[in-house]
Protein backbone atom coordinates (compact mmCIF):
# COMPACT_ATOMS: atom_id res chain seq x y z
CA UNK A 1 0.00 0.00 0.00
CA UNK A 2 1.19 3.51 -0.80
CA UNK A 3 2.59 5.37 2.25
CA UNK A 4 0.57 8.56 1.94
CA UNK A 5 0.55 9.49 5.62
CA UNK A 6 -3.20 9.96 5.47
CA UNK A 7 -5.32 8.57 8.30
CA UNK A 8 -6.59 5.07 7.62
CA UNK A 9 -10.07 3.79 8.24
CA UNK A 10 -10.25 1.21 11.04
CA UNK A 11 -9.29 -2.24 9.83
CA UNK A 12 -11.25 -5.50 9.98
CA UNK A 13 -10.37 -6.49 13.56
CA UNK A 14 -12.10 -3.52 15.19
CA UNK A 15 -15.50 -4.41 13.80
CA UNK A 16 -18.02 -6.56 15.59
CA UNK A 17 -18.67 -9.76 13.67
CA UNK A 18 -21.79 -9.59 11.52
CA UNK A 19 -23.30 -12.15 9.19
CA UNK A 20 -23.42 -9.62 6.32
CA UNK A 21 -19.61 -9.54 6.22
CA UNK A 22 -19.57 -13.29 5.73
CA UNK A 23 -22.23 -13.45 3.02
CA UNK A 24 -20.49 -10.70 1.08
CA UNK A 25 -17.04 -12.28 0.98
CA UNK A 26 -18.46 -15.80 0.59
CA UNK A 27 -20.21 -14.69 -2.60
CA UNK A 28 -16.85 -13.80 -4.12
CA UNK A 29 -15.08 -16.86 -2.74
CA UNK A 30 -17.75 -19.25 -4.04
CA UNK A 31 -17.74 -17.39 -7.37
CA UNK A 32 -14.03 -18.10 -7.75
CA UNK A 33 -14.56 -21.75 -6.74
CA UNK A 34 -17.35 -22.09 -9.34
CA UNK A 35 -15.20 -20.47 -12.04
CA UNK A 36 -12.53 -23.12 -11.42
CA UNK A 37 -15.21 -25.81 -11.20
CA UNK A 38 -16.56 -24.81 -14.62
CA UNK A 39 -13.24 -25.96 -16.09
CA UNK A 40 -13.80 -29.39 -14.50
CA UNK A 41 -17.27 -29.46 -16.07
CA UNK A 42 -15.67 -28.94 -19.49
CA UNK A 43 -13.28 -31.80 -18.73
CA UNK A 44 -16.26 -34.07 -18.01
CA UNK A 45 -18.03 -33.08 -21.24
CA UNK A 46 -14.86 -33.51 -23.30
CA UNK A 47 -14.36 -36.96 -21.76
CA UNK A 48 -17.96 -37.91 -22.51
CA UNK A 49 -17.48 -36.74 -26.10
CA UNK A 50 -14.22 -38.67 -26.49
CA UNK A 51 -14.81 -42.32 -25.53
CA UNK A 52 -15.87 -44.61 -22.63
CA UNK A 53 -12.26 -44.94 -21.37
CA UNK A 54 -11.77 -41.17 -21.06
CA UNK A 55 -15.16 -40.88 -19.35
CA UNK A 56 -14.26 -43.74 -16.96
CA UNK A 57 -11.10 -41.83 -15.99
CA UNK A 58 -13.26 -38.77 -15.27
CA UNK A 59 -15.88 -40.65 -13.23
CA UNK A 60 -13.14 -42.53 -11.33
CA UNK A 61 -11.58 -39.20 -10.36
CA UNK A 62 -14.98 -37.78 -9.43
CA UNK A 63 -15.77 -40.88 -7.34
CA UNK A 64 -12.42 -40.94 -5.50
CA UNK A 65 -12.31 -39.59 -1.92
CA UNK A 66 -10.68 -36.34 -3.09
CA UNK A 67 -13.14 -36.11 -5.98
CA UNK A 68 -16.09 -36.51 -3.59
CA UNK A 69 -14.73 -33.77 -1.31
CA UNK A 70 -14.38 -31.48 -4.34
CA UNK A 71 -17.91 -32.35 -5.51
CA UNK A 72 -19.48 -31.73 -2.10
CA UNK A 73 -17.57 -28.44 -1.87
CA UNK A 74 -18.71 -27.55 -5.38
CA UNK A 75 -22.33 -28.33 -4.47
CA UNK A 76 -22.17 -26.14 -1.38
CA UNK A 77 -20.47 -23.31 -3.31
CA UNK A 78 -23.03 -23.63 -6.09
CA UNK A 79 -26.11 -23.52 -3.85
CA UNK A 80 -24.67 -20.69 -1.80
CA UNK A 81 -23.83 -18.58 -4.87
CA UNK A 82 -27.28 -19.38 -6.30
CA UNK A 83 -29.20 -18.48 -3.13
CA UNK A 84 -27.15 -15.38 -2.38
CA UNK A 85 -27.18 -14.40 -6.05
CA UNK A 86 -30.98 -14.45 -6.09
CA UNK A 87 -30.86 -12.40 -2.88
CA UNK A 88 -28.64 -9.84 -4.65
CA UNK A 89 -30.97 -9.74 -7.67
CA UNK A 90 -33.88 -8.98 -5.34
CA UNK A 91 -31.82 -6.29 -3.58
CA UNK A 92 -31.00 -4.77 -6.99
CA UNK A 93 -34.68 -3.85 -7.23
CA UNK A 94 -34.19 -1.77 -4.06
CA UNK A 95 -35.87 -4.22 -1.70
CA UNK A 96 -34.54 -5.84 1.47
CA UNK A 97 -32.12 -3.16 2.65
CA UNK A 98 -33.67 -2.60 6.09
CA UNK A 99 -31.10 -3.91 8.59
CA UNK A 100 -33.37 -6.58 9.99
CA UNK A 101 -34.36 -8.06 6.62
CA UNK A 102 -30.77 -7.71 5.35
CA UNK A 103 -29.51 -9.83 8.26
CA UNK A 104 -32.38 -12.29 7.94
CA UNK A 105 -31.82 -12.80 4.19
CA UNK A 106 -28.07 -13.24 4.83
CA UNK A 107 -28.81 -16.14 7.15
CA UNK A 108 -31.38 -17.47 4.68
CA UNK A 109 -28.71 -17.71 1.95
CA UNK A 110 -26.42 -19.72 4.22
CA UNK A 111 -29.14 -22.01 5.55
CA UNK A 112 -30.71 -22.66 2.13
CA UNK A 113 -27.28 -23.55 0.72
CA UNK A 114 -26.60 -26.07 3.50
CA UNK A 115 -30.08 -27.62 3.32
CA UNK A 116 -29.98 -28.05 -0.48
CA UNK A 117 -26.45 -29.49 -0.34
CA UNK A 118 -27.50 -32.03 2.28
CA UNK A 119 -30.63 -32.90 0.26
CA UNK A 120 -28.68 -33.43 -2.98
CA UNK A 121 -26.05 -35.62 -1.32
CA UNK A 122 -28.64 -37.62 0.59
CA UNK A 123 -30.25 -38.30 -2.80
CA UNK A 124 -26.94 -39.25 -4.45
CA UNK A 125 -25.73 -41.45 -1.59
CA UNK A 126 -29.11 -43.18 -1.45
CA UNK A 127 -28.28 -44.39 -4.95
CA UNK A 128 -30.19 -41.81 -6.94
CA UNK A 129 -33.63 -42.95 -5.78
CA UNK A 130 -35.64 -40.39 -3.86
Amino acid sequence: MAQTGRPLSPHIQVYKWQVQMVTSILHRATGIILAVGSLLLVWGLAALAADPEAFATFTDCAGSPLGMIVLVGWTLAFFYHLANGIRHLVQDTGKGYAIQSFVRSSWASIIVAIVLTVAVWAYVLAGGHA
Binding site: R28, G31, I32, L41, F55, L82, G85, I86
Partner: protein
Amino acid sequence: MSKDLRNPLARARGLGSAKEGVSHWMLQRITALALVFLTVWFVATILRLTHADYATARATLAQPWNAVLLIALIVTMFRHAVLGMQVVIEDYVHTRWLEVASLVLIKFIAVLAALAGVLAVLRIALGS
Protein backbone atom coordinates in the same frame (compact mmCIF):
# COMPACT_ATOMS: atom_id res chain seq x y z
CA MET B 1 -24.85 27.29 -13.51
CA SER B 2 -25.54 23.64 -14.10
CA LYS B 3 -25.15 21.32 -11.12
CA ASP B 4 -23.85 18.57 -13.39
CA LEU B 5 -20.25 19.03 -14.50
CA ARG B 6 -20.57 16.60 -17.39
CA ASN B 7 -21.32 18.02 -20.80
CA PRO B 8 -24.82 17.34 -22.19
CA LEU B 9 -23.62 14.82 -24.78
CA ALA B 10 -21.80 12.72 -22.16
CA ARG B 11 -24.95 12.82 -20.04
CA ALA B 12 -27.13 11.72 -22.92
CA ARG B 13 -24.82 8.85 -23.75
CA GLY B 14 -24.58 7.93 -20.07
CA LEU B 15 -21.29 6.15 -20.58
CA GLY B 16 -19.18 7.64 -17.75
CA SER B 17 -15.42 7.43 -17.34
CA ALA B 18 -15.23 3.73 -18.21
CA LYS B 19 -16.87 4.47 -21.60
CA GLU B 20 -19.25 1.56 -21.26
CA GLY B 21 -21.83 2.91 -18.85
CA VAL B 22 -23.67 0.25 -16.88
CA SER B 23 -23.15 -2.53 -19.44
CA HIS B 24 -20.84 -4.58 -17.17
CA TRP B 25 -23.27 -4.32 -14.27
CA MET B 26 -26.27 -5.09 -16.46
CA LEU B 27 -24.66 -8.04 -18.26
CA GLN B 28 -23.63 -9.53 -14.91
CA ARG B 29 -27.28 -9.43 -13.78
CA ILE B 30 -28.74 -10.73 -17.04
CA THR B 31 -26.31 -13.65 -17.17
CA ALA B 32 -27.02 -14.26 -13.46
CA LEU B 33 -30.75 -14.46 -14.14
CA ALA B 34 -30.20 -16.84 -17.06
CA LEU B 35 -27.88 -18.97 -14.91
CA VAL B 36 -30.51 -19.32 -12.17
CA PHE B 37 -32.58 -21.35 -14.62
CA LEU B 38 -29.76 -23.00 -16.60
CA THR B 39 -27.79 -24.22 -13.57
CA VAL B 40 -30.84 -25.57 -11.76
CA TRP B 41 -31.81 -27.43 -14.95
CA PHE B 42 -28.22 -28.71 -15.27
CA VAL B 43 -28.00 -29.97 -11.68
CA ALA B 44 -31.40 -31.69 -12.03
CA THR B 45 -30.26 -33.32 -15.29
CA ILE B 46 -26.97 -34.52 -13.78
CA LEU B 47 -28.74 -35.85 -10.68
CA ARG B 48 -31.03 -37.95 -12.91
CA LEU B 49 -27.84 -39.38 -14.46
CA THR B 50 -26.39 -40.42 -11.09
CA HIS B 51 -24.74 -43.83 -11.54
CA ALA B 52 -25.83 -43.92 -15.22
CA ASP B 53 -23.48 -45.70 -17.63
CA TYR B 54 -21.59 -44.07 -20.50
CA ALA B 55 -24.17 -44.81 -23.21
CA THR B 56 -27.10 -43.47 -21.13
CA ALA B 57 -25.24 -40.31 -20.15
CA ARG B 58 -24.23 -39.66 -23.73
CA ALA B 59 -27.67 -40.38 -25.18
CA THR B 60 -29.33 -38.08 -22.63
CA LEU B 61 -27.06 -35.12 -23.32
CA ALA B 62 -27.34 -35.78 -27.08
CA GLN B 63 -31.07 -34.97 -27.02
CA PRO B 64 -31.54 -31.67 -28.88
CA TRP B 65 -33.04 -29.68 -26.01
CA ASN B 66 -30.41 -30.88 -23.57
CA ALA B 67 -27.63 -30.05 -26.04
CA VAL B 68 -29.03 -26.56 -26.69
CA LEU B 69 -29.45 -25.79 -22.99
CA LEU B 70 -26.00 -27.17 -22.26
CA ILE B 71 -24.39 -24.90 -24.86
CA ALA B 72 -26.38 -21.94 -23.49
CA LEU B 73 -25.15 -22.87 -20.00
CA ILE B 74 -21.49 -23.09 -21.08
CA VAL B 75 -21.48 -19.74 -22.90
CA THR B 76 -23.43 -17.88 -20.20
CA MET B 77 -21.46 -19.44 -17.36
CA PHE B 78 -18.05 -18.45 -18.74
CA ARG B 79 -19.27 -14.95 -19.61
CA HIS B 80 -20.57 -14.52 -16.05
CA ALA B 81 -17.37 -16.01 -14.60
CA VAL B 82 -15.18 -13.54 -16.52
CA LEU B 83 -17.31 -10.58 -15.38
CA GLY B 84 -17.04 -11.70 -11.76
CA MET B 85 -13.34 -12.62 -11.81
CA GLN B 86 -12.61 -9.29 -13.51
CA VAL B 87 -14.11 -7.37 -10.58
CA VAL B 88 -12.23 -9.50 -8.03
CA ILE B 89 -8.92 -8.95 -9.86
CA GLU B 90 -9.54 -5.21 -10.23
CA ASP B 91 -10.27 -4.96 -6.50
CA TYR B 92 -7.42 -7.02 -5.08
CA VAL B 93 -4.51 -7.04 -7.55
CA HIS B 94 -2.71 -3.74 -7.01
CA THR B 95 0.34 -4.33 -9.21
CA ARG B 96 -0.70 -2.87 -12.53
CA TRP B 97 1.09 -5.27 -14.90
CA LEU B 98 -0.07 -8.27 -12.88
CA GLU B 99 -3.64 -6.94 -12.91
CA VAL B 100 -3.67 -6.47 -16.69
CA ALA B 101 -1.98 -9.83 -17.27
CA SER B 102 -4.54 -11.58 -15.03
CA LEU B 103 -7.44 -9.86 -16.77
CA VAL B 104 -6.20 -10.99 -20.18
CA LEU B 105 -5.37 -14.50 -18.92
CA ILE B 106 -8.85 -15.18 -17.49
CA LYS B 107 -10.40 -14.08 -20.79
CA PHE B 108 -8.13 -16.40 -22.79
CA ILE B 109 -8.87 -19.31 -20.46
CA ALA B 110 -12.62 -18.64 -20.50
CA VAL B 111 -12.84 -18.41 -24.31
CA LEU B 112 -10.78 -21.59 -24.81
CA ALA B 113 -12.75 -23.52 -22.18
CA ALA B 114 -16.08 -22.33 -23.57
CA LEU B 115 -15.07 -23.35 -27.11
CA ALA B 116 -13.86 -26.74 -25.86
CA GLY B 117 -17.12 -27.23 -23.96
CA VAL B 118 -19.29 -26.28 -26.94
CA LEU B 119 -17.27 -28.56 -29.24
CA ALA B 120 -17.71 -31.44 -26.76
CA VAL B 121 -21.50 -30.91 -26.68
CA LEU B 122 -21.63 -30.78 -30.49
CA ARG B 123 -19.62 -34.01 -30.72
CA ILE B 124 -22.01 -35.66 -28.25
CA ALA B 125 -25.12 -34.30 -30.01
CA LEU B 126 -23.94 -35.09 -33.53
CA GLY B 127 -22.39 -38.42 -32.60
CA SER B 128 -18.86 -37.87 -33.89
